[in-house]
């Protein structure tokens, strides 16, 4: 009898709670006027600036931290002061930063020069294994040179250093709480309230933020939703306000949804097929030329990529980076005339005939697990078959693709990366074309840990790329970059397929959010508001 009563009680409780669930108003505060609900496609790695180097983690850390500098939301992503009041490139080796003296952390404590220098030291200290530590490779010293001033001395000229302190490498947190128990207290528009790993992160408005009047939401709730359908439905029902990384195969559905606004914008990225120039058969330039001539990039773009990418000009960076290394109009003209191996099967056959493999060969094509890339791979497989190249498609997880790209998997016999051809993507960290050219084409980056995935090596290109980093004006850098690109275009280690775009989804209740290619560093909830 007792058991029956217990079962009846459980049933009754379950029923009552079930009905209360159906009738209840949402437990979350999504859609409320004072809470912004932001969806992340995965969890963050943490809040430590030394580990804040991906476009999920930075969506959260951008709200917590102010950087020494930041990027504005214009098309050119101009550098602007943030914690700094002003900054100056004194000469090619000396950068001086003047700091605002009245910045407060979210606990009300004033930011000191000690805090600033300690943060920069942490980034450079190898013991912290900072993911952005490499950005300081050219730094010889950072010293306080005034009450509210510090100076960075470089050991060699590097034009891209100007951008470093606009990334998470320039984030500043309060020293004492971190050293006490690892608590992150910073000076951004929001402060940490709570976190449940894998589920949600809640931030509250920082009342001490210098521009607090421009912060309209009292709280931000970041919800981790990995499943595409759930994420889309959350936005559609108003359970979420904002998200990036839309599922591309659901883009049409999203555009048709009256409750969701879709914005696509350019990134600093490039999608390409790399050929391993360090082992046969792709160490033969004519083989690479044959492949480049046989891939119909325009048809791939028109059939598969129109909504989600920009069309290839053949250059390894898109128009959003032209201004960083010269006059955009001159770069546009250069791109139009750039040596591009347009689709021409007869020409491809001619190149192959001149190579050491006139009768063709068999090779593998590494493809990350993605439906769009798989379609591209099938297309390339079919077109290369026309000239006698038999392509075996090898689908592997994205992390394994990264391992090839970074050279952490290695072909010991040939002392090079272990692949023939593969699909890769590269995103420049800075609004500067050098952020694509140096990692992908400088020969020293062909070593493990570097990102020169094709293993491309050319002494003259090395010389030109290094030389352009010593120039502090874009106009001086332009001819050097163009000459390097001329050579790279001739030797064609990679075939540029497209320039990936990023997307933002927002519930229509939210006002338009300014977005540009520097979103990883500057996408901020400050300024976001409801219509």
């Amino acid at each position: 009898m007792k058991i029956k009563k217990l079962v009846a009680l459980i049933l009754a409780c379950a029923l009552i709670l079930s009905f209360s669930a159906i009738g209840s108003v949402s437990a979350s505060e999504a859609g409320s006027s004072d809470t912004l609900t932001w969806v992340l496609i995965g969890d963050i790695t943490g809040l430590d600036p030394t580990q804040s180097y991906d476009d999920i983690t930075n969506m959260v850390t951008n709200q917590l931290y102010q950087g020494i500098l930041t990027y504005d939301t214009s098309v050119d992503s101009n550098l602007t002061p943030d914690i700094a009041e002003s900054w100056e490139i004194v000469d090619e080796l000396t950068y001086v930063y003047n700091i605002k003296p009245d910045i407060l952390f979210s606990d009300g404590a004033p930011m000191t020069m000690e805090d600033i220098l300690w943060n920069l030291d942490r980034q450079m200290d190898p013991a912290n294994a900072s993911l952005v530590g490499w950005m300081f490779d050219c730094v010889e010293s950072i010293e306080q040179t005034g009450d509210w001033q510090f100076t960075v001395k470089l050991s060699y000229p590097d034009a891209t250093f100007q951008y470093v302190l606009g990334t998470s490498a320039g984030y500043i947190m309060e020293k004492a709480p971190w050293e006490a128990d690892g608590t992150v207290i910073a000076s951004g528009p929001y402060a940490m309230e709570s976190r449940v790993t894998g589920s949600n992160i809640i931030l509250k408005k920082n009342e001490y933020y210098a521009n607090a009047d421009n912060v309209y939401f009292d709280r931000i709730v970041f919800n981790v939703i990995g499943e595409d359908t759930t994420r889309v439905e959350a936005l559609s029902t108003g359970q979420a306000d904002f998200a990036t990384n839309p599922p591309f195969d659901m883009l049409e559905q999203l555009k048709a949804d009256p409750n969701v606004a879709v914005t696509m914008f350019d990134t600093f990225g490039v999608d390409f097929v790399a050929m391993n120039t360090q082992r046969a058969p792709f160490d033969d330039v004519n083989v690479r030329r044959a492949v480049a001539s046989a891939i119909d990039v325009n048809t791939i773009y028109d059939s598969l990529l129109v909504d989600i990418c920009g069309p290839s000009s053949g250059l390894p960076f898109n128009a959003s980076l032209y201004a960083s290394i010269g006059d955009p109009a001159e770069w546009a003209a250069y791109a139009d005339a750039y040596k591009e191996y347009t689709y021409d099967v007869e020409q491809a056959k001619a190149y192959l005939a001149e190579s050491a493999y006139p009768d063709g060969f068999t090779c593998s094509l590494v493809v990350p697990e993605s439906s769009v890339l798989n379609s591209e791979a099938l297309f390339i497989q079919a077109t290369l078959a026309e000239i006698g190249i038999n392509v075996e498609i090898n689908k592997i997880p994205q992390n394994d693709v990264y391992a090839i790209q970074m050279g952490t998997t290695w072909d010991a016999e040939n002392d090079c990366r272990d692949f023939d051809m593969g699909f890769f993507t590269w995103y420049a960290d800075f609004p500067d074309a050098a952020g694509t050219l140096i990692p992908n084409y400088l020969s020293s980056n062909a070593a493990p840990g570097g990102c020169n995935v094709s293993g491309y090596s050319n002494e003259r290109v090395d010389e030109l790329l290094m030389d352009q980093t010593t120039k502090t004006t874009a106009a001086d850098r332009m001819p050097l970059c163009m000459e390097a690109l001329d050579i790279i275009g001739e030797e064609v280690p990679v075939v540029i397929i497209d320039y990936p775009r990023q997307g933002a989804l927002q519930n229509i209740s939210l006002s338009e959010v300014p977005l540009n290619a520097s979103y990883m560093w500057n996408l901020s909830a400050a300024g976001m508001m409801r219509n």
Partner: protein
């Protein structure tokens, strides 16, 4: 009896040690380099990669890494996650309530529905009620939790948009509401299984000689079914369900993913993808531990109930 229990506990220990070695080796068979997953295809330097190796103990030999992990487990330290760079104890504390809640609630839902249905199907054998229950049972058995979860999400989004299917919780009511729908989706397979076993077991009891004797003595049908037959029939059902609970932890992975619940299942999948070795090892060991504890307890209980097992 104490000798029997001692033998079982020794078996338990040996199996746990062997399993820990197998898990440790298998996790490292993955081609994915954890350092690559941490850096995520972005620019880095050989020095940073080296420092990351030291930070996570990947510079040590396999044997050192194994003993460091096992030693930590005995001290109650589960290690550090490569991805989150925090203690795995913290990760488990965040994730455990969701997985345990899901498994328990879905088990309760399954039993509350399956047992009365199974009993009814047995009592009404080969009649309309039995056939309807059998058809529903077959249908539920064929509903993959992942697919059902997606259907639930689409249904809720359209017809119950105020029901929260994303986000966290701050009190028990919100917690219960968050795990209710996924628990129902997860319960389907167990409902089908438990219902069929209950039916079969009850039919066996209904045909037993003691049932005829009880009927001839004038015991009412209700007393007979619930007071005699059901008590005997429920033992195999509970045996199967207890083993299924371990499987449900694994099955909860997909449901957690669709409902964006941060349980151990999603943590396991994320950790496999990123070669977060120690997290994968810890979760797998936990699953093995749960299976082994249940199995050992059941063995001991059987021995307590049945002297023939002890004698053998």
């Amino acid at each position: 009896m104490s000798k029997y229990i001692g033998r079982k506990l020794l078996q338990f220990l040996i199996i746990m040690v062997i399993t820990s070695v197998i898990i440790f080796i298998m996790v490292r068979l993955s081609k994915t380099d954890p350092l690559t997953a941490i850096v995520g295809g972005k620019q880095t330097s050989a020095e940073t990669l080296e420092q990351l190796k030291i930070k996570f103990g990947l510079d040590k030999t396999f044997v050192q890494q194994y003993f460091s992990w096992i030693g930590g487990l005995f001290r109650g330290e589960l290690g550090m996650s490569f991805k989150y760079q925090i203690s795995i104890n913290e990760l488990f504390a965040d994730r455990f309530p969701i997985t345990i809640g899901l498994v328990l609630l879905s088990t309760i839902i399954a039993l509350v529905i399956a047992i009365p249905s199974g009993v009814l199907a047995a009592v009404k054998k080969n009649r309309a009620a039995d056939r309807i229950i059998s058809i529903i049972s077959v249908f539920l058995a064929g509903c993959p939790p992942f697919f059902m979860s997606l259907l639930f999400i689409l249904f809720i989004a359209r017809y119950l948009p105020s029901y929260q299917f994303t986000g966290g919780y701050s009190n028990f009511r919100e917690y219960f509401l968050r795990i209710l729908a996924p628990s129902i989706a997860l319960a389907f397979t167990m409902i089908a299984l438990a219902c069929r076993i209950t039916r079969a077991s009850m039919i066996e009891q209904l045909n037993a000689q003691y049932t005829q004797t009880a009927v001839s003595k004038g015991v009412t049908e209700r007393q007979l079914v619930w007071g005699h037959n059901f008590r005997n029939a429920v033992i195999p059902v509970l045996s199967v369900v207890s083993v299924q609970i371990g499987g449900m932890i694994a099955g909860s992975v997909l449901v957690e993913n669709v409902f964006s619940l941060s349980g151990l299942g999603t943590l396991l999948i994320d950790s496999i993808k990123t070669s977060d070795y120690v997290v994968v090892q810890d979760i797998t060991m936990l699953m093995v531990l749960i299976f082994m504890v249940i199995s050992t307890l059941v063995d001991i209980l059987y021995a307590l109930i049945d002297p023939r097992i002890r004698a053998n």
